[in-house]
Symmetry: C2
Subunit: 272 residues, 2 copies
């Protein structure tokens, strides 16, 4: 069956979007559509332009025998600004205030459209970093981790606060929660992470950084490397933070329980 250009463009767009960061040889598309490689090259030039103009992502063409084309997610500055601005606004609603100064975020983390956008933002920043695995801790970070992992085309490992019977032997470590100063335990299935992996740590919220720091210690235990640390929201800390380098989308500046006011601003996403 022969495909016309218009048909190829639709199917190639779908294929590339579903396989981010994968180098697809031109011959793959040439065979898929019984078309000449020169036609495929022209198709890709059109897709590349539209992807860039519409902020869908970038297409990188690698020439030579082992060459091909690679789609990488990329969110534009305008898109990120707008989205992070909206997120700040959504988060400052006084109805979100819970006893103890906690904020209700369940609705935000339960909205796949928002979770996808957050994943796009984070993945964009690490699209050129070697990342083999995304790591998070149960439960709230899980959807964000999968969204990032989808865009980076890598697996997810989930650290747990309890140890369950259906994951086989686990490695457990103790860590100190930075905000409460209590000693806690986290564990990870032994066969879920290979030594030498480059791991991007993703979580929903970071206060002093105790939990993230625990995950860093866990990586040491597995002799894996920290490729990056990214959180949706960080809380401004008067005292020292346990984690130095990280990426945050929004920052909680202040919670005034009496006045029922939440102050939120953008995180360090734009500060490089």
């Amino acid at each position: 069956m022969k495909f016309r250009r218009s048909e190829r463009l639709i199917d190639m767009t779908d294929y590339l979007l579903k396989h981010p960061r994968k180098l697809v040889p031109l011959t793959f598309f040439a065979e898929r559509y019984s078309s000449a490689k020169s036609s495929i090259s022209e198709d890709l030039a059109i897709i590349k332009e539209v992807f860039e103009v519409r902020g869908i992502g970038t297409l990188q063409t690698v020439s030579g025998a082992a060459g091909g084309v690679k789609y990488q997610v990329h969110s534009t500055y305008e898109e990120a600004r707008k989205f992070i601005g909206q997120l700040c606004e959504t988060m400052t609603s006084p109805a979100r205030l819970l006893p103890g100064g906690y904020l209700y975020m369940t609705d935000i983390l339960g909205d796949p459209a928002i979770v996808q956008k957050v994943g796009r933002m984070i993945a964009s920043k690490y699209s050129k970093t070697p990342v083999d695995v995304v790591m998070t801790i149960a439960t709230k970070g899980i959807p964000l981790a999968y969204s990032v992992a989808n865009y980076l085309n890598v697996p997810v490992v989930i650290v747990r606060r309890d140890s369950i019977v259906t994951e086989g032997p686990t490695v457990s470590i103790n860590y100190v929660s930075g905000s409460t100063n209590r000693i806690q335990t986290m564990s990870l299935s032994k066969r879920s992470l290979a030594a030498g992996s480059n791991v991007l740590i993703v979580d929903d919220f970071m206060k002093a950084g105790g939990t993230v720091n625990g995950m860093v210690s866990m990586l040491e235990e597995f002799r894996a490397n920290v490729a990056g640390i990214a959180v949706l929201m960080e809380a401004e800390q008067a005292e020292g933070r346990l984690v130095d380098e990280y990426l945050s989308l929004i920052r909680l500046k202040d919670v005034d329980l009496k006045q029922k006011q939440i102050k939120m601003c953008e995180g360090n996403y734009f500060s490089e």
Copy 2:
């Protein structure tokens, strides 16, 4: 800026894939590309054909003033057969056997490509059912639930086995785990689910169905409706199951710990 057909097709494909089950008026695309509605109609006819031929999904065109186009995920019979067959094979590896006859599935649930496919399969079956929310229980069902919810374009609510401080007031119920016969507790944040919602319950594994049954009771508590129940894997049950109607992709027939053998077959996915 005017867009050529080839450019429109690429951007429309991206847009439709990102907005499943949403009715997009033709005028939206006409304005987006400064094009005549007749051209948009022709574009959509091409996209519809390619989506169907390549098994990407279906495009439904609604005519009239309130009309537009709606993309729905649809996995073909061949795709489902192949994927479910592979899944059965992957799951029968003796290396998956854990003490107590449990099976190691962490790698499968940690692979976003597999999770996406499972989500596609399940969402395909419910693409025409009214579903407002996907519900799951922490922890293992979460990635599957988000994948299904993405394809159905609805939010996710997560029932928890513990009650945490950052979700506000919760509703808790007791349920009996069908396999262990122990009484357990599950809770759900009060503001996370509206009365009257049509809820699709998604989980990774169902044995006797106690946990799923607990979620059904939870829905009664919220005066919400069960739109469906879907699990990745069910275990064959000698004794009665607590849940009648459900969808399963694969079925665990038997685990022989002595012979280190796992018997797996397809679930009821194809049996309608």
